[in-house]
């Protein structure tokens, strides 16, 4: 052991830290809730992921083939989709933060007594279903829609641009549907920064820009991690936006899972992909939670 304790001492100290059994009963409601709504369906899924499907019939073969298939089936198509989804989720996260941060910063630093009004103005309209928003965007940047019509009318382009229906469109609509929600966690973390710290920075000679880089930004990192948590993980499994706005190049791993379940009726393979995704999401959450701290995560909910 590097800190000089023996295995025996470590085990003993774990036992010492454990609370009496009655203590754990308090966790019962939470455990029950998780059990019924999460563990049950996921267990079924986990079991299926080791079976095979032959002619629409599930056969309990207990094989790892489904997991191997993710990497080899269709010349690695599914694996490449997974990597692409990771990349797209990262892009969406960065884009949404880049959009939300200035808004949150402005409201927090210069909102004065209208802070909360501004915050509501920014966020409330987005309470409408974001599917509606996607259609809205389609009306703006679609093939024969507003933007193209205007640009052609102005003589700037000779034929309409194909802006709709590719992977960039998917990233674009996801950024715009997430950004308003990120304003809140970032705003919360900015609000928590003691303003006298910025005065102290200025007093020590830091220009406003240096102040931002050395004080505001590092102190708002918990908010950024929370934002990442909220965007990255759901986006990783996204399948609605690719269907509505993605065309063929916009497909993500979520689209593949959906197709596998619904069109190919290959539940075991779909389950295996879902599970892999779940594990990736779980690892990402653990990393983010350890960095941001569970508390700051809950505080901005």
């Amino acid at each position: 052991m590097k800190d000089g304790t023996t295995m025996r001492e470590r085990v003993l100290s774990i036992f010492k830290k454990m609370k009496p059994l009655g203590y754990y009963w308090r966790l019962f409601p939470a455990v029950f809730w998780l059990g019924v709504f999460l563990v049950l369906p996921l267990s079924v899924m986990l079991i299926y992921s080791f079976w095979t499907m032959v002619r629409f019939e599930l056969i309990p073969t207990w094989t790892l083939q489904n997991y191997l298939d993710i990497f080899v089936r269709a010349e690695g198509l599914y694996f490449r989709l997974l990597l692409k989804s990771l990349g797209m989720a990262a892009a969406v996260t960065l884009g949404a933060i880049a959009l939300a941060y200035p808004a949150a910063y402005y409201i927090s630093m210069h909102g004065g007594k209208y802070k909360y009004v501004l915050l509501n103005v920014i966020m409330t309209p987005f309470l409408v279903s974001w599917v509606v928003l996607i259609f809205g965007w389609r009306l703006v940047i679609g093939y024969t829609c507003l933007l193209n019509t205007v640009l052609m009318g102005a003589g700037l382009i000779s034929e309409p641009m194909r802006l709709w229906g590719n992977w960039i469109t998917v990233i674009f609509v996801l950024i715009f549907s997430w950004a308003p929600w990120l304003v809140l966690p970032i705003f919360v973390s900015l609000e928590k920064i003691d303003r006298s710290l910025l005065e102290a920075g200025a007093d020590l000679g830091a220009s406003p820009l240096e102040n931002f880089r050395k004080i505001t930004l590092p102190l708002s990192i918990p908010g950024l991690l929370v934002a990442t948590f909220f965007v990255f993980i759901p986006t990783l499994g996204e399948f609605v936006a690719p269907i509505l706005a993605g065309g063929t190049s916009g497909a993500m791993i979520g689209s593949a899972i959906e197709a596998t379940f619904k069109r190919m009726h290959n539940w075991p393979f779909g389950s295996a992909m879902s599970f892999l995704l779940l594990i990736i999401a779980l690892i990402a959450s653990i990393v983010l939670i350890r960095k941001a701290g569970l508390r700051s995560l809950m505080e901005s909910l």
Binding site: S196, L197, E199, A200, D203, L204, G205, S207, L219
Partner: protein, 352 residues
């Protein structure tokens, strides 16, 4: 003395609130200057105008002879120690102290040397890697002081830097601050509502009330010759007598005559206030050779070790406080004892 900081008719209003009201003062180079006054009298606001965080509504601030009106805080040659310290929680001790030096882009080895020197100065060597949260209140205080001091500002502004500390630590820090000021030779403008601190450390003190400066002077002058009832009361306990004065003789209702040093105007009869500090009054069964002697009865006696404090009832019904050194006194008067109290005319101070 060379003037380092000067305020000319400075007024600051927040809406209808007049926080600082027509303040004019100057602070000399390497002087330890204190702003002393009760809570809410505008001390912090005055400091914030010197450091540039507030713009005066009227009047001008000069530092080193230069008009500061359009100079933002980060370009002023001042450093402020904030009332709430404002240490950076995400940085360790080293990074907190070196913050200003890094902004100035000093070479790394010079920064290291200076930080080390500063930590030595406040006796916190070896604390470089500590997080701010891992420091005690007094340690944080000292880090806040050197974080400002390390930049070698022309003027160091200290906003009640000893406020949250316990008495013993305060006393230690008072000595330490004075030592630091002597060693580095910076101009200190020190804000406090604690008269003891101000008297101990300052070269000069400005007493403030309701946004105005009432009196500026050396600690001795402020203590012994307060210009108004407020200052007399605020700085050390004072025994005050109201009366009417003519030719250096003051007529006090029910007490008789008090002989005082002739003031500037002596011919006309006018009302005055006489202030006698408790330790300037003698007490005894018999008193001789004093300009003013009165009969009294001891009402309360407090033996406080080094000194003994008496509350003595005079014939006009006023209760005065007398403080004598315990070691010099022959005996201690018990409550009920008939005594005489008295003082020489030069030991009291007369106000209009």
């Amino acid at each position: 003395m060379k003037i380092d900081v000067e305020l000319k008719n400075v007024t600051k209003k927040f809406g209808d609130v007049v926080a600082v009201d027509d303040v004019s003062l100057w602070v000399g180079k390497c002087e330890f200057f204190s702003l002393l006054g009760p809570s809410g009298c505008g001390k912090t606001t005055t400091l914030r105008m010197i450091s540039g965080f507030e713009k005066p509504t009227e009047g001008e601030v000069y530092i080193g002879g230069e008009l500061m009106t359009d100079v933002p805080p980060f370009k002023r040659p001042t450093n402020l120690i904030f009332q709430n310290l404002a240490l950076f929680p995400h940085l360790n001790v080293y990074d907190n102290i070196s913050f200003g030096l890094k902004i100035k882009k000093l070479p790394k080895d010079e920064i290291q040397r200076k930080v080390k020197e500063m930590l030595n100065l406040v006796r916190l060597s070896g604390y470089e890697k500590r997080k701010i949260k891992q420091l005690s209140g007094g340690e944080q205080q000292r880090i806040a002081i050197v974080r400002a001091l390390v930049n070698e500002p022309t003027v160091l502004l200290l906003d009640e830097p000893l406020g949250p500390l316990d008495l013993k630590l305060r006393e230690e820090m008072v000595v330490e601050l004075k030592r630091i000021q002597r060693e580095v030779g910076t101009t200190f403008i020190y804000v406090t509502h604690d008269q003891g601190e101000a008297l101990t450390m300052s070269d000069r003190i400005a007493v403030m009330k309701d946004g105005r400066v009432l009196q500026i002077g050396t600690p001795m002058k402020i203590y012994e010759q307060p210009k108004s009832r407020f200052i007399a009361d605020f700085i050390g306990r004072s025994n005050l007598f109201e009366g009417s004065c003519a030719d250096g003789v003051v007529e006090v209702d029910g007490l008789g005559r008090i002989i005082a040093e002739p003031g500037p105007q002596t011919s006309d009869k006018h009302s005055v206030l006489i202030c006698a500090k408790p330790e300037k009054i003698s007490i005894g069964r018999k008193l001789k050779g004093l300009d003013n002697i009165f009969d009294g009865e001891v009402k309360e006696t407090y033996y406080q070790g080094r000194v003994t404090t008496y509350r003595v009832l005079l014939e006009n019904g006023s209760l005065i406080t007398v403080v004598v050194l315990s070691s010099g006194a022959k005996d201690i008067f018990k409550p009920g004892a008939k005594v005489k109290v008295g003082w020489n005319k030069r030991d009291v101070n007369m106000m209009m």
